[in-house]
Symmetry: C2
Subunit: 458 residues, 2 copies
């Protein structure tokens, strides 16, 4: 019985039905209410307190611990009768932690415009949208993407080559299903984006880590290590996580290798739109005259991740194989979100939003860097990358970056350690921090001070 | 060059940019416009006509053939300024073909209500919905499903056991990723739902077809053929496609086998809500006291397939493994559609809609059966199943059911042959026809007459 009470509380806390700091009934009151022995409730409370779910506050009673990590977002805010709730009411636990990587500026997303277009689109819901969607993606959205890619990324492709997926992971999974046979070698940048590594391993790839230096992936090392690899995954615009660009010489070498060996290159171009110094580099795909490059783009960074929409552009000769593959999996994305993004693009909102975010992120990047330098002085070296959504900070310390990151995480900062994304050691030690959601100088200073307190003195 | 013109037209027709019946420029005019030799355009037109894309109409010129199968839906209807367009404008080529299987009655879906809830929900979009969604699914929706399953299907489960996916295929794929190792045996009903078979084969399963008779899957045959199979996929409520129910004796035998051998059972309960004679049968999962059954439900039949939402209920002991698996794939479904379905369920609309559809489908089923019997007389035996969304018709003919189905398909009827879903021959020959979108007696008679003309005389 005490186990049942324990479980009820634990789940209620983890799922946000009981909030951090919220008072709970006293053991005596709860026992009376449930018709149980006081000792049963006491035992449950003791276990909950022992595991950190509840905190005794002496005479003030018992409350939900304030540091509890929640599994779920809380229930959605109650629906407004007519108008959107004030933004402050919506800032809930589902929002990212401070300094989290890879999340666009949520406060700067044009929610009103989006909601207006969305409401209009859902009111226009036709019978056609009720039936199964095209598993390759919505025709209008594929068209809008192919039109966008030429001016934005230098890529010339037809809408037929564009496949809509539920996210970058789904794009990568699709590419593996069509092109990878189990046991084949797969070049992966070192350091890398760890979820991609896990996904490729699950797909049966034998990962070949290829070191990255200031010119991007060391293609010559890849050729030396695994000349017959079947695939290579690269992030040429801003290497994830180092932020360097793949040099033109390496790009040409990579393409020549793929052409001569018959390998496939997957280009992950996740946040290339955000570049702060110099003009954006064209995509690697823009140079791919022989059809060896698959281009993976996403709306998670230029719009928002909750949308769950990404895309993969495949070479013309692969269109049929990918069409069959998506037809077999018989899934596809909801037409509603696809139509909405197509509207957003066709009406020019996407380009405007990206332009705005580019200058906003340039500011926020400097704001965070400045605050870090003020807080740490000589002990920090902030590496501003030419683009992207996070910065690298190298902090003088006797402790490893993973230990520093763990300390920061205990203080609620979503800082990541560079070394944990690396297989080899050449990438060195650094902390990765997202700057996109640092909304003010005051917040930047507060975060820098918290980080300094967390990582301690040298 | 003529190949390029040919491709342009072919794709434009397949993608709906050129509509069936639409006139195209004369070869002479097009040649002049493009600055090409007349012969080049003539060659392209000839090939297009030869393959059935274009039709010459003599002096009236050339037009897009009216029977062309389109790959894509046409572009969405233009957005209305404020109000929804009249329903008739929305009936486009994306709607299913007559007699198509597995599509709920699209005309009867409460689109206005849905749009109102959806517009309200999208206006309430909070910052939390912008970030990555919980890959296990929206907490409110999981809760709503677990509350729904007890009264509706006799299943007692916590929200934690419910995983939201992008469709039945995605549920099955998830189950395979967690539970199946390549090369393991997998019982599959014979006849079956062919996409499931393809998906399991791709996942590396060795399929063991287990015959189905009037009491459902012959569990004893499964045990004889592959006692050590790792998984079994069953459709106990209405076998797909035969429509029979798995008898209680076989259910107990199946569960006992799974318990003693350590196998997993995946219960595909796709349309069990629609039953016309007797009370709905509880799910197999309702009898699963030992946690060997994974229950796959979907919103494609009780709401609509374009929603792309389904769910998998896993045994408590498997919750952690499935949570890790969905965390790795890092995809998940858009929060917007999940919140909307949660609203729809919490406000009681789902139960009301199912109840309405149950009586509507009972009518439409009889309407189609009657029209078929009137048209074919003694030559047809219509098998009404106790539930589901399609009927079986056995037609006396010297031709095979696959030939009859092909003839019907050429006349635009989406009739399917039973034998094409079978591995063995015991299921016999029959045509499968969806009745859910047969909206009137007049339409039923027209379809029956078209079918009779298509399949010819005996």
């Amino acid at each position: 019985l005490h186990r049942q009470i324990y479980e009820r509380f634990r789940l209620a806390i983890l799922h946000g039905q009981l909030r951090p700091g919220q008072r709970v009934a006293s053991a005596r009151a709860l026992a009376a209410q449930l018709g149980l022995a006081r000792g049963t409730v006491d035992a449950a409370y003791a276990q909950l307190a022992g595991e950190g779910y509840l905190e005794a506050m002496g005479q003030k009673g018992t409350r939900v611990a304030t540091g509890v990590i929640r599994l779920d977002r809380p229930r959605a805010a109650p629906l407004p009768a007519r108008r959107a709730p004030p933004a402050v009411a919506a800032i809930a636990a589902g929002t990212p932690l401070p300094l989290q990587l890879g999340i666009p500026a949520l406060d700067a997303f044009p929610r009103k415009l989006w909601s207006r277009l969305g409401a209009r689109r859902i009111r226009a819901l036709g019978l056609a949208q009720l039936s199964y969607p095209d598993p390759r993606g919505n025709a209008r959205l594929r068209e809008a993407i192919s039109s966008y890619l030429l001016p934005a990324r230098g890529i010339r492709c037809s809408a037929d080559q564009v496949f809509i997926t539920a996210g970058y992971g789904a794009s990568l999974d699709l590419a593996c299903r069509v092109l990878l046979r189990a046991g084949q070698r797969f070049w992966l940048e070192d350091p890398c984006y760890p979820p991609a590594r896990r996904l490729l391993e699950e797909a049966g790839a034998r990962i070949v880590p290829v070191p990255v230096d200031e010119h991007g992936m060391r293609v010559e090392d890849g050729i030396r290590l695994a000349p017959k690899a079947a695939l290579a995954l690269v992030t040429p615009s801003h290497q994830a996580p180092l932020g360097v660009s793949l040099s033109i010489a390496r790009r040409m070498k990579l393409l020549a290798w793929a052409q001569s060996s018959g390998a496939w290159i997957v280009e992950d171009d996740y946040d290339s739109e955000f570049r702060y110094t110099g003009a954006p580099l064209p995509a690697l795909k823009a140079l791919d005259s022989v059809g060896r490059v698959l281009y993976a783009g996403t709306f998670s960074k230029v719009l928002f991740p909750g949308l769950r929409l990404a895309y993969l552009v495949v070479p013309p000769a692969q269109v049929d194989a990918f069409s069959r593959a998506v037809g077999r999996s018989a899934s596809g994305c909801p037409d509603l979100t696809q139509e909405l993004v197509a509207d957003f693009m066709e009406e020019g909102h996407l380009s405007r939003h990206i332009k705005k975010m580019r200058s906003l992120y340039a500011q926020r990047r400097i704001t965070l860097a400045t605050a870090l330098e003020e807080a740490f002085g000589d002990r920090i070296r902030v590496q501003l990358q030419a683009g992207g959504m996070h910065l690298l900070a190298r902090i003088q310390s006797r402790r490893r970056d993973s230990q520093l990151a763990a300390s920061a995480q205990r203080q609620g900062l979503a800082v990541q350690a560079l070394s944990q994304r690396a297989t080899g050691t050449h990438a060195g030690q650094a902390l990765l921090m997202g700057f996109t959601n640092v909304v003010s100088k005051a917040q930047a200073r507060e975060l820098a001070a918290r980080l300094r307190a967390a990582v301690g003195r040298a």
